[in-house]
Symmetry: C2
Subunit: 801 residues, 2 copies
């Protein structure tokens, strides 16, 4: 795909200049609006045509059976799937009794645009109906970042050529028909009409529907109210039934006359509250939104985003497309997490139904590290959600015969929903991913209250899990066996280096947190013998190393395995998991996604520079990037080992994943981890940020394609600005008192008003490392022209079918 076919390149916005019906689902994801609580796919106001209708509420799901041909102890029996809840964004338009449908009549222009500083999706269209009437449409839509329960639409229709009778039907519709899915027919049946009607109401300009999911028993209330402006003689009626509430607005417009309707939609849901309670909460939210008015909502949105960008922007000179992509990425990461508030942040955010709406390790490993430095409150919320699921995680640990807590590989509410244990339950690293994210949050923010009330328990329960999962061998080494690391083309191996190093961090961080909160730790039953056992296990952690090759095997025995026949694998056989059996992938040297390389990023202190270089070169030859959770990590380590052009290519791949639909599945929702990963690639890759030590450290290196890279970071009460050019790096403290940082290996202090400059180092030129044939990242040759995606595939997780 080229930009000509897709979205215009602009540093602050994404714009679509014409409507491509074949790509509707993709642009519905790209233009999706969300605040982390409500998610609206960018379906057209009038509902049809559509790619995939989608309205999501974070945490609202339906249960569905997980069938097994051969069952097993501890297999989850029930899955959770995000559902398309009541559509509250629908505004149908009749033009002289002909429905406004872009598939008929003549479309003179159609433009949609989303400005990241504004957070409003704007649409303009001019259309001549089959009967020959021409109208102009302008609509603007937002999901409020400041009023969590509220979405709103400002809809305006203008008669162009002569009197035209207009009917606007503003609706709430439950149980929308969805396009056919190929999945398990039983699962589809459950999810086809998941909402059971409980109450409906319409009066004047207001309407509401209350439904409940059949099996998960979640109550969902949706309400709407309207402000209507038009010529005299506008008639308003309303009606409701089980699955529909509708406000009908009718008038006749003369040429140049306009009918404007502002629609305020409110959402609420609860597992416990009654019908009147949930409906009242929604109607209160709508009342407040109506009080703010459309302009008020837009102004609040702008103010919220101004604040966000002022401390979170990543600026790039020299590659405007990458600049656009990274702001697109930050904007969507913000949308996914801003108001998720003790709910999970799903792998697709609330932009589509991909992966059943589940959250994975993506959140803690890719999304939270970005938010930690720019929106730390969202990190605390996300980790408080994990904390709220501790009772389920303890239950799961007990079921598996382990101490502490075992967090689910994939879930919406907290229960394990993975139906394939070698790539689910066995991926125990999720526990360390969460613990390490919590420890990082506390270290960077200094939020002692959070640590005391939430972080400590997360660390303690995961440390307990690791201590019971591993064991000391006769020579005293602590081994963790039969687990699956990040790379999903290996499974159930012994001593996965990533897992063991992350577990080591987890065990140490838990012991340290206990030292800071002894009273609370005692209440959790931790004594000094237990923390000593954690420290001992961490100190004795076994990290396999292949002396013959001088590299770390991803896990015991990995480097002895047969090499995948890359030469004999045609390009159309990627992603491999769709064309080769797991048994073959697992037993050979082929890597879906960074695993050992990710360990080198998150635990860089555990590797020498020489090891990093050798390991990276070794795994580059094996890594096919059949997951979108890989390019960003490869970018970071490529930059560290001096392969700056390669790092640049990987950065662009991560950043353009959705704008260029590189995985071919943007239609199912955006790749939040890849988008967040693009930010990591820039800040930790070219900025060289590492935070595993006691001091925030940088090793800035700029690829030839970039002229300048600048970013800000919140560290405790400081706001640090970093600006990198090929010549020098400027560290400027914008808020807070003195901050100690490291540049390359030099420690230095930065103060407000006393920026520090250091030369930006240039690594020695080295030959570009090879990848498996055909799996090389696209070379980013020119910043002006967009690249063509290749060698990237769709599945960052095993597909659920």
């Amino acid at each position: 795909m080229t930009a000509q076919e897709g979205f215009a390149v602009d540093p602050w916005s994404v714009t679509e200049h014409r409507l491509d019906l074949a790509q509707l689902a993709r642009s519905e994801s790209v233009f999706a609006l969300s605040n982390g609580h409500i998610g609206l796919r960018a379906n057209l106001d009038e509902g049809e045509p559509h790619g995939l209708p989608g309205t999501y509420l974070n945490g609202v799901f339906e249960l569905r059976p997980l069938p097994y041909p051969e069952g097993g102890y501890g297999y989850p029996e029930s899955g959770q799937s995000v559902i398309n809840v009541t559509n509250g964004k629908l505004i149908r338009l009749l033009v002289d009794d002909e429905p406004f449908d872009l598939r008929y009549g003549e479309l003179h222009g159609h433009r949609r645009s989303l400005d990241f500083r504004e957070g409003v999706l704007r649409r303009e269209a001019e259309w001549t109906s089959p009967a020959g009437r021409t109208i102009r449409i302008r609509s603007s839509r937002l999901v409020s970042l400041t009023q969590r329960a509220i979405a709103a639409v400002d809809y305006e229709v203008e008669a162009v050529d002569g009197p035209v009778r207009i009917v606007l039907q503003s609706e709430l519709v439950a149980n929308e028909q969805l396009p056919n899915s190929d999945g398990d027919p039983r699962a589809s049946a459950v999810l086809e009409a998941p909402l059971e009607a409980e109450a409906h109401h319409a009066h004047g300009t207001q309407g509401s529907l209350v439904h409940r999911t059949r099996f998960s028993q979640l109550r969902v209330a949706v309400g709407m109210d309207h402000v209507i402006e038009g010529p005299d003689g506008v008639s308003v009626t309303s009606e409701s039934r089980h699955d529909q509430a509708r406000i009908n607005v009718t008038t006749v417009l003369q040429p140049g006359q306009r009918l404007r309707m502002v629609k305020f939609t409110g959402y609420g849901w609860s597992a416990t509250r009654s019908v009147p309670a949930v409906r009242d909460q929604v109607e209160a939210a709508i009342t407040a939104a109506r009080y703010s008015g459309w302009d008020g909502l837009v102004a609040e949105q702008k103010a919220y985003l101004d604040e966000f960008w002022s401390s979170s922007d990543i600026e790039i000179d020299g590659d405007v497309e990458l600049q656009q992509a990274v702001r697109f990425a930050l904007f969507h990461v913000l949308q996914a997490s801003a108001r998720s508030e003790e709910r999970a942040i799903p792998a697709k955010g609330l932009t589509g139904p991909g992966y059943d709406g589940h959250s994975f390790w993506d959140t803690e490993t890719f999304v939270l590290p970005v938010l930690t430095y720019c929106l730390p409150g969202a990190v605390a919320q996300a980790l408080r959600w994990r904390h709220s699921t501790l009772p389920l995680a303890r239950e799961r640990a007990a079921q598996l015969g382990l101490a502490g807590a075992v967090f689910p590989w994939r879930t919406i509410r907290g229960e394990e929903c993975s139906g394939y244990w070698p790539a689910g339950t066995a991926a125990f690293h999720i526990g360390a991913d969460i613990a390490v994210a919590a420890a990082r949050y506390v270290r960077v923010t200094g939020d002692v209250d959070f640590e005391r009330s939430y972080g400590l328990e997360l660390l303690v329960e995961t440390a307990r899990m690791w201590r019971s999962l591993g064991h000391h061998d006769p020579t005293g080494r602590f081994r963790i066996e039969g687990v699956t690391g990040p790379d999903e083309y290996s499974a159930v191996a012994d001593n996965n280096v990533f897992t063991n190093l992350m577990a080591q961090t987890n065990l140490r961080a838990a012991a340290e947190a206990v030292g800071r909160h002894q009273l609370e730790a005692a209440a959790l039953g931790v004594d000094t013998e237990e923390t000593a056992a954690w420290r001992d296990a961490a100190a004795a952690m076994f990290i396999p190393y292949d002396e013959k090759l001088g590299v770390h095997p991803q896990a015991d025995g990995f480097t002895d395995h047969q090499l995948w026949d890359f030469e004999g694998t045609p390009q159309e056989k990627y992603p491999l998991l769709l064309h080769y059996p797991y048994f073959d992938l697992y037993r050979k040297q082929v890597v879906k996604q960074a695993d050992l390389v990710l360990a080198m990023q998150l635990r860089g202190d555990a590797f020498s520079a020489e090891q990093k270089a050798r390991n990276f070169a070794y795994y580059e030859r094996l890594t096919v990037r059949d997951s979108s959770l890989s390019a960003c990590t490869q970018a970071v380590i490529a930059a560290e080992v001096g392969q700056l052009d390669l790092a640049y290519d990987y950065t662009a791949e991560a950043a353009l994943m959705d704008l260029h639909d590189l995985g071919g599945n943007t239609r199912d929702g955006l790749h939040m981890a890849s988008l967040a990963g693009a930010c990591i690639a820039l800040v930790s890759g070219f900025g060289g940020l590492r935070d595993h030590g006691t001091v925030i450290s940088f090793r800035p290196r700029l690829p030839a394609g970039l002229v300048r890279l600048a970013f800000s970071m919140r560290v405790r009460h400081h706001l640090l600005h970093v600006e990198i050019t090929h010549e020098r790096t400027d560290y400027t403290l914008r808020e807070g008192d003195k901050l100690r940082i490291a540049h390359d290996d030099e420690e230095l202090w930065v103060e407000v008003g006393a920026p520090v400059q250091r030369p930006t180092a240039v690594p020695e030129a080295s030959e570009r490392l090879p990848q498996p044939p055909g799996r090389e990242p696209a070379r980013r040759t020119s910043q002006a022209g967009p690249t063509t995606g290749s060698g990237v595939s769709s599945a960052e997780h095993l597909p659920a079918e």
Copy 2:
């Protein structure tokens, strides 16, 4: 269970002296009749009460969907389940219009008996109806070993106390209602009424039904004819409908008078033949059987069995219960295989629906080694069935990216039906199990025609598979990675010793067979480069060895794994697979069933005596015998390393598996492999038979509990008789010219008329080896009293749910 509760101990028969309604399903399996083509569970003639109604035809199954919560490339989408076909053994009896039902009225006596020399299930009962009429029933039932399509019942009712009106309804009933199952409701739905009616007919004493399975499209025809003897005035009518054909016989019996009915039932099925063709074939079979008559069928049965026992009996002095059990075992192994004729021999034979009626590696590894020496024709048939599935196996190999043929882990017709690949597809050893069975058959029988037409291709295609599955590492060792060995508490490991040694045998045997049949091999595309590659891989085969411990790890890294916490595992948590997750079982040192120990039996030449002793002791501590496919192998190696009492205990466990219902699941069908294994335990354990060399060798050792052990073996045209006492072993050649054998390590010749005697060695006394706590085999202290089964569980294969 004790014999008092179960079956009377007798060296040649099994007898039940009273009817235990709670144990009906168990005795239905124990008394099941089969010829390998037809299988009838021992349901009462009158149909009810029943434990589990069952009539099976080898190869008749229904397809059912295999659902996955998360799909994967190469997962089988469709399973095969044996179905209960039309019941042709039903004879209902009305006594003065009251149905003869043992649950009502008064039962004065009920006796069932099966004599292994006769092959007829005999039943006698005396019953007083609720209305006070007393009658006597005698029925005899057989499934003909000589007339493959025929089962017959000789049914006689006698009035005891006064005139009684008798109605006999002899029926064919399709789609019998089965007791509720707990499985997947969709699968149950498919299997609930699997037969669609195509034709029905009744006239005079004859009736027939033709049905077809809905999805597998197999046509099943059943017919019956009757010979009726009674007082004058017997009336016969007949009728039929879709799922039922019935012959009604009515008379009034005076005290002492009898009504006798001989029922001949014929079965036929076909995937291709038309309704008239299949029905005609059945009616022809019935005509022939009626021509033989009941007495003729009984005489043929007796003659067939006399011949079998004369060359196949295993005699034991000193333990009559074990004597009974081993003849029970031989009888059922015979029944399962006698006339299976190019169909699979299922894990349960045709005695019950357990494991969906699937065949596993059990056949080639446990059943065929026994048959090879006593019923070699059945071995040829079973292997010809495997050969007939080669097109499917080649397809499967191609799907998995391998050369040659990959045989299914579980199947009825030949397609892979395993829904859990780590314990299914990954168990590649099935290929070597088949190849080694074929090579053994050829070596023992000298059947060159078979080798040329069938064996060669089986060997070639499996050798090709191994060559493509393994690879040479940089040091030149041939490694086979990511496979699962026999032990189902480990999976997907590297260099499983059993697998690698069996693959080595497979590769070598293939190369040798090619040398003997160069023309045919060339037609299969084999050239000398290919056989050289096989020989090279076999020679370079990597066999891991743990130098520190001085034992062979079951697979790479096994001995480094954490020990299972046997002390902390309560007895009620066995079998472990029902109470612990696979992830935990797989990553720890705990063994479900003999794996390395089986390698030491089948490839004893690859281990020194010291290694065998150390390995056996090591794995005894780890082996929980949660599979019935273990005790027999442990018996063999226990005997070899001089642990004769332990071997004796294991032998008894294998032999009594079903008579004592040690696994608690005899109701689902008999454990054919365990029964065959009991014979192996005696002959290869105490007899010390090994056949992996060029000469048949023996190392006789007798445990204290046995006084004498004698058995015969067919080896090519020889019939060798071996008789072992504590003092000496007699080798007598009964047929054939000179035969070279080995006794201990001495090679000697045996000739007809010139028996050879050698002293029976007595191993040095050694301390009894320990097993995991609570998992010790029951001590066989007294030959007279029966033992109580303990520590044995139910699942020789992963359960299908």
